[in-house]
Symmetry: C2
Subunit: 679 residues, 2 copies
C-alpha cells in the first residue's frame, strides 16, 4: 500500500487556488509562441484538404508524426467510413436563367476566381452545398429573405405567397444553412439557392480580398445542408461508422435534403430574378476519413480524460476555418511535449484530437464519440473545442458551460492581452473592457454553447463539460455574419497573416486560453469546475423561459401552467451547490468530490433525448431547432412554447409545455442530488 494521492487529501487552498498551484502552468503558457503558430498555419494551408481526399490524409499523417516528435505518449490514426458528398467532376453544378423556350440564357459561375499565388493549385472544390439532392428543377424563383421560420411564415401568412413547387432563393446568414433548407422543404419548395448578400458579408470600409478581408463578388460560401440533429454519419446514427457497422440506405439516412440546393456569390445573385433551372449533380458516397488521436497518460488519474479537439478538414485551404485553430492545437501539443521532457506529467490523461469531416456534419468527432461513448461517459472530465481561432480582430469570445465560467475568468487574468498598446494589461481586462456583460454582472461576456462545431456530441449528447474560445469581432458594430470570406477559396494563410493577426499574438492568446484550460482541468488536484455558477445560470435561464411563457397569461391560467416546480428545483440546486463548495474547503476525499463535479454536467442528460431529437439529450442546453448555430436554454420548454403558436390544439400544446417544465424541474432536482454527500 503506497501513499494516498487522489483518494484522501487535505488541500491547503480552496478550489480556485488550484490555479496558482502548478509551477508548470506559467512555463506551459510561455512556451506557446506566435512564430511557431505562424509556422504551423503556413505548413497546413498550402494545399486544399477537403475531408476524404488524399491531401487531408497526408496532413493527418504529418500531424501524427509531429505529435509523436513533440513527445506525446501515443498517437494513433482512427478511420471511419462515413457518407460524404462531392460535386460531379464531369458535370458541374450551376444555376441557369431559362427563357420561354427553355434555353439557358445565363449561367452562374462554375468556380470562384482563384486568389493570387494559388493559380496552379488543382483540387479546389467549387462552391456547392454538400449532400444536396441531385436534380434539374426548373421554376419561378421566390425570395424568402434569410429562409428563417419567421421569413416563411411572413411570406405565407402576411403576403399570401405559397412556395409549393417553386424554387426559393434566400440569403446566407442569421441561421445555419441546413435550417434554411429544412424550412424550404417544409414549405414545399422544389429547390433552394443561397447567396451571400453584401449586407451580410461585407464589412464597411474594407477592400475585398486580396486587398482587404472582404468577400469578392465572385466568392461563395460552401457548406453542408444536413439536418442531423447530432446523429453524426447519416447512415449510422448512434453507432460508429466502422467496417462491421450496419448502414441505412440513402433513403433512410438521417437529415439528407430531398431537394437540390446550391450556393452562389452576389455577382451571380443579382441576375437571378426570374425563372431558373438548377443543375445539380453532386454525389453522396461513403468515404474513409481519419481522426488523429494523441494522448498524454495521466500520472495519478489515468482514467480521467481532458480532451482538446478540433477539426483538420477544410473546404479549400482552411486559412481561418479550421487551420487557425489546428495551428493553435499543434502549438499546445508542442508546448505540452516540452513540459513532459522536463519531467512534468499531468495528474489526469490529456487527449488531443484532430477531427476529420467536421464540415460534412461534425462526422469525425461524432463517430469517435459514438465509438468511445462508454469510456467517455464514465471518464471524461471536460472537452475543449478548437475550431477557427479567429473570426475578428476585436477581443476574446468564449462560449462554455456555466461550470467553466470561473476557470475562464481566473485563467484569462494570467494571460497577456495581445492587443497593441496593452502591454501589462491582462487578456481578462482587455476582454472585459471591450465586451462587458452589462445586462446582469460586471464581467466579460460568456455565451451559451450552440452547435456548428465538434463539441456537440460531447456536450449535448454525452453531457461532458465543454467550452470553446476564439478571437472575435465587435458584435455591436460589425453586423456581418461570421466573417466575410467564410468557407470561400479566399480563406488563405495570407488573410490571417496580412489582416487578422499579423503578429500572431491573437492566436497565441487563444492558444494560451485553450491550452491553459486543458492544463488546469488535467492538472489541478481539485477539478476547477464551479457548481455555483451553474446555479446562477439556471436561475437566469428559468426566469427568461418563464417570461416567454408569460406572453400568454390567459392560456397559462386556463391550462394551469406553473413554473413553481422549476424554480423550486433551481433553489434546491443552488443550496446543494453552495453546500458542496463549502464542503470542498475541508474535503478529505478528493476523488469522491471530483467525481461529483465531473458528473454534474452528465446529470443534465436525459437518456430519452429531446422530443424528436434522440441525440440531443441535454435538458438545459441544445442547439436551437430553428438555428443549429444558436444555443437554446431549456430547449424542451422553448420548443413547446414555440409550437403553441402554430398548434391546432392549444390544450395539447400547453400540456406539452407542462410536461417539459416537469422534465426540467426533475432534471435539476436530480442534478442537485448529485452534489449532496454521496452517503
Amino acid at each position: 500500500m503506497v501513499c494516498a494521492v487522489g483518494w484522501f487529501a487535505k488541500p491547503t487552498h480552496p478550489n480556485t487556488a488550484n490555479i496558482v498551484s502548478s509551477k508548470y502552468l506559467r512555463e506551459f503558457l510561455d512556451e506557446m509562441q506566435p512564430d511557431q503558430i505562424r509556422e504551423h498555419l503556413r505548413k497546413f494551408t498550402r494545399l486544399p484538404h477537403l475531408a476524404g481526399t488524399e491531401q487531408n490524409l497526408k496532413y493527418a499523417e504529418q500531424i501524427m508524426k509531429e505529435w509523436q516528435e513533440f513527445g506525446l505518449d501515443s498517437v494513433e490514426m482512427v478511420p471511419y467510413d462515413v457518407l460524404l458528398s462531392y460535386p460531379n467532376k464531369s458535370q458541374p453544378n450551376y444555376i441557369a436563367i431559362v427563357d420561354q423556350l427553355g434555353d439557358e440564357v445565363f449561367n452562374t459561375s462554375l468556380a470562384e476566381p482563384v486568389p493570387e499565388g494559388y493559380e496552379d493549385i488543382s483540387n479546389i472544390v467549387p462552391p456547392y452545398s454538400a449532400f444536396s439532392a441531385q436534380g434539374q428543377p426548373e421554376g419561378d424563383l421566390v425570395y424568402v429573405n434569410y429562409g428563417r421560420t419567421e421569413d416563411f411564415f411572413q411570406l405565407e401568412r402576411e403576403m399570401g405567397i405559397n412556395v409549393t413547387g417553386k424554387i426559393v432563393i434566400v440569403r446566407y446568414g442569421r441561421i445555419f444553412r441546413g435550417n434554411k433548407v429544412k424550412n424550404a422543404i417544409l414549405a414545399g419548395a422544389k429547390g433552394i439557392i443561397m447567396f451571400s448578400d453584401p449586407a451580410d458579408y461585407w464589412a464597411a470600409g474594407v477592400q475585398p480580398y486580396p486587398d482587404g478581408w472582404n468577400l469578392p463578388g465572385g466568392g461563395a460560401q460552401r457548406g453542408n445542408v444536413l439536418n442531423l440533429n447530432g446523429a453524426g454519419d447519416p447512415l449510422t446514427p448512434g453507432y460508429p461508422a466502422k467496417e462491421y457497422s450496419y448502414r441505412f440506405s440513402l433513403e433512410d439516412g438521417v437529415g439528407l435534403p430531398k431537394i437540390p440546393v446550391h450556393p452562389i456569390g452576389f455577382h451571380d445573385a443579382v441576375h437571378l430574378l426570374k425563372k431558373v433551372r438548377m443543375n445539380i449533380h453532386t454525389n453522396n458516397q461513403v468515404t474513409r476519413i481519419y481522426n488523429v488521436i494523441g494522448r498524454i497518460r495521466g500520472a495519478l488519474e489515468p482514467d480521467r480524460y481532458v480532451i482538446l479537439g478540433g477539426h483538420r478538414d477544410a473546404w479549400v485551404f482552411g486559412g481561418i476555418d479550421p487551420m487557425s485553430g489546428a495551428a493553435v492545437v499543434h502549438e499546445t501539443v508542442r508546448s505540452a511535449g516540452r513540459l513532459l521532457s522536463k519531467g512534468w506529467r499531468p495528474r489526469r490523461t490529456i487527449i488531443f484530437a484532430s477531427w476529420d469531416a467536421e464540415e460534412f456534419g461534425l462526422l469525425g468527432s461524432t463517430e469517435w464519440a459514438e465509438d468511445n461513448a462508454k469510456l467517455l461517459q464514465e471518464r471524461a472530465v471536460a472537452y475543449i473545442n478548437a475550431d477557427s481561432a479567429i473570426e475578428g480582430m476585436y477581443t476574446l469570445r468564449v462560449d462554455c458551460t456555466p461550470s467553466l465560467h470561473t476557470l475562464v475568468y481566473d485563467l484569462t487574468k494570467q494571460i497577456a492581452s495581445p492587443e497593441e498598446g496593452e502591454e501589462g494589461v491582462s487578456l481578462y481586462e482587455s476582454w472585459h473592457k471591450r465586451d462587458n456583460w452589462t445586462n446582469d454582472r460586471d464581467a466579460p461576456r460568456i455565451s451559451k454553447l450552440g452547435s456548428g462545431s465538434d463539441f456537440e456530441a460531447y456536450f449535448i449528447r454525452l453531457g461532458i463539460a465543454a467550452g470553446r474560445a476564439r478571437y472575435t469581432k465587435n458584435k455591436k458594430t460589425e453586423r456581418y455574419s461570421s466573417y466575410p470570406v467564410y468557407h470561400s477559396v479566399y480563406e488563405t494563410f495570407e488573410i490571417v497573416e496580412k489582416f487578422y493577426d499579423p503578429t500572431f499574438r491573437r492566436l497565441q492568446a487563444v492558444a494560451q486560453v485553450r491550452g491553459g484550460l486543458i492544463f488546469l482541468l488535467a492538472d489541478s488536484q481539485l477539478l476547477p469546475l464551479d457548481a455555483n455558477q451553474y446555479a446562477d445560470s439556471l436561475r437566469k435561464y428559468a426566469q427568461s423561459i418563464m417570461q416567454l411563457a408569460q406572453r400568454h397569461p390567459e392560456e397559462m391560467e386556463t391550462y394551469e401552467v406553473s413554473f413553481d416546480s422549476l424554480f423550486s428545483a433551481v433553489e434546491n440546486f443552488t443550496v446543494a451547490a453552495r453546500d458542496f463548495h463549502v464542503r470542498l474547503q475541508t474535503l478529505n476525499r478528493v476523488r469522491v468530490m471530483n467525481d461529483q463535479l465531473m458528473y454534474l454536467e452528465r446529470a443534465f442528460i436525459d437518456p430519452l433525448g429531446l422530443p424528436g431529437r434522440p441525440f440531443y439529450r441535454h435538458v438545459i442546453f441544445a442547439p436551437s431547432s430553428h438555428n443549429k448555430y444558436a444555443g437554446e436554454s431549456f430547449p424542451g420548454i422553448y420548443d413547446a412554447l414555440f409550437d403553441i403558436e402554430n398548434s391546432a390544439d392549444p390544450e395539447k400544446a400547453w400540456e406539452e409545455v407542462k410536461r417539459q417544465i416537469s422534465i426540467a424541474a426533475f432534471t435539476i432536482h436530480a442534478a442537485a442530488m448529485t452534489l449532496i454527500p454521496p452517503a
Copy 2:
C-alpha cells in the same frame, strides 16, 4: 495527506481471495438465524397489505423503526404517487354465463374461500386483474390454451379460428399474464379470462391447502396485466412519480389494456363453455406508495453503492410472495446492524430497500430507480434482488449476470446445506448434486435474469450488475407453474411453516446467499466481479442466436447475413477480459480497476434502447417480448429473427437482423474497450 486506501494498493491475493479476507464474513453469516426469520415472517403476514393500503404503510413504518433499531446509519420513507388499480367495492367483478334471453344463469365466485384462522380478516382483495379495463362485454368464448403468441398463431393459421369480437379464455402459466392479454388484444378479442388449470397448478400427490400446499379449486391468481416494458408508473414513464411530475392521461398511459380481464379458479372454469358476459368494474387511481430505504455508509468508498432490495406489498398476506423474501432482508439488516455495533463498517455503502407496489408493475423500485438514476449510473456496484425466498423444497436457484457467477459459487461453498441429512455438506455441493449444469460445464446451474421482479430497472434499464437467489422446486419432476398457491389468499405464514420450510433453514440459507453477496460486494477491496465469466456467456449466447438464424440458410445467403462481426467482438472481449484479470493480479490502482469492473455491466447499455422498448436498454439481456418472466439473450437479434416469420417484406426483416447483429457486435467491442488499461 493520509494513507492511500482505495487508490493505490497491492493486494497479496488474487481477486477471489477477497472472499476469505474478511474476518467478519463468517460472523455475518452465522448471525442470521432461522428463528429470527420465522419471527419476521410471522410479524409481517398477519394482515393483508396490498400496495396503497393503510396496512402496507403501517408495515413500512414498522420496518423503518426496526431497521433504525437494528443500527442502520439512516432509514427514510420515500413516497411516490403512482397509478394503482382496485376492484370496485360496491360492484364486484365476475363472469356470468348468459342464456339466449341474456339472463345470467351462472356467476363465478366473488371471492376465494378464506383459509382457517383468517375468517375475521377484512380487506382481503378478491381475485382480479389489476389495471383491467372496465366493461361488460358479452360474447362467445374461445379457448386459446396458454394465450401465447404461438397459441394464437395456431388457432388462426391451423384451425382457421378468428377471435375478433370474441371473449377468449386462456389458462395461466408458461408466460407472464400481461403477455397473454397483449396477445388477446392484438388478435382482436374484446375480453380475456384467465384460469388456473390443475395441469399447471397442482402438484401430484399433494393435498390442497390447508392439508397440503396445492391450490384449492376455489382459489385464483391475482396479478397485474400491464405491458409496461420497464416504464414503471404508467403515467410517468421515464420520470419519478412525484408531486411536480407531469402525468399522462389514462388514454396515453403506458401498457394499460383496453379490454376487460379477469382471473378465475378451476372450480369456476369448468362451467364456462358457452356464451359469457364479463362484469368488470375495477378502477385505476393515482395512489401514494412508500419505499423504505436504509443505508450503511461506506467507510472508504461512500460513493459506491451495493443494493439489496425486495418488495413488501402483497396481494393478500404475502406468506411466500414477498414476505419470505422480506423476512430474509430483515434478518440481513439485523445481522449487519450487529456487526456495526462490533466495530465493523463496510468499505462501500450498502443500501437496503423495502419496495412498494411491485405487484402493480415493479412500481416502487422503478420510480426510485428513475428518481436516482443519475446517482446509480455513476455509483452503483451491484443490485441483489429479494423477492420470495422460496418457491419449492428442492434446492437453490440463482439467476444473475454472468460477472457474478464466480462469486455465487465461491460464496455458496461457505454456506451450509439446509437439507436434512446433509450435515457438513455445503450449499454448493447440495445444489450441485441436485441441479448440475450438465450441458456445458460441471457446476450448479445459474440462469439468466428475465423480469417479473424489482431488479428490472436496475439491470435492464441502468446496466447495474444484478442477481437473485431463492429456494426452488425440482424443475425436472415438478412441472407446475411457479408454486400452486401463487397470488392466492392461501399464501399464509402457515404454508411456509408447515410445508415449505418447517425448520426455516432453507430461508436461512437464502438469507446467507443474499446477505453474503451484499457483504462481499460491499466489503471486498477488489470487486468480486468476473469479466471472464461474461466472456464465456457471451460466446454461448452468440452461438445459440446464430443457430437460430441458421434455420434459414438460404435467406442468410440471399441477404448476406453474417455473424462474423459478432464473434469477432466476442473474441475481442474475451482477450480483453483475460488480460484484465491478469493485470488484476499485480494491480496498483484499486479504484481505477474496480471502476472498470463496476462499469462493465453499464457498457452493455444502449441509450437508444431496444426497438420499441426504450426502457429496456441492455443489449445482451432483456425480458422476452413474448414472456416478460423469461430472459432473452441478444434480445434485439432474437426479436428480429422472430419477426422474419411474420413479415410481408423478408428483405426488410433480414435487414433488421443485420442491423441488430451490428449493434450487438459494436456493443461488445465497446465493452471490451472498457476493460483495457484506461490510458
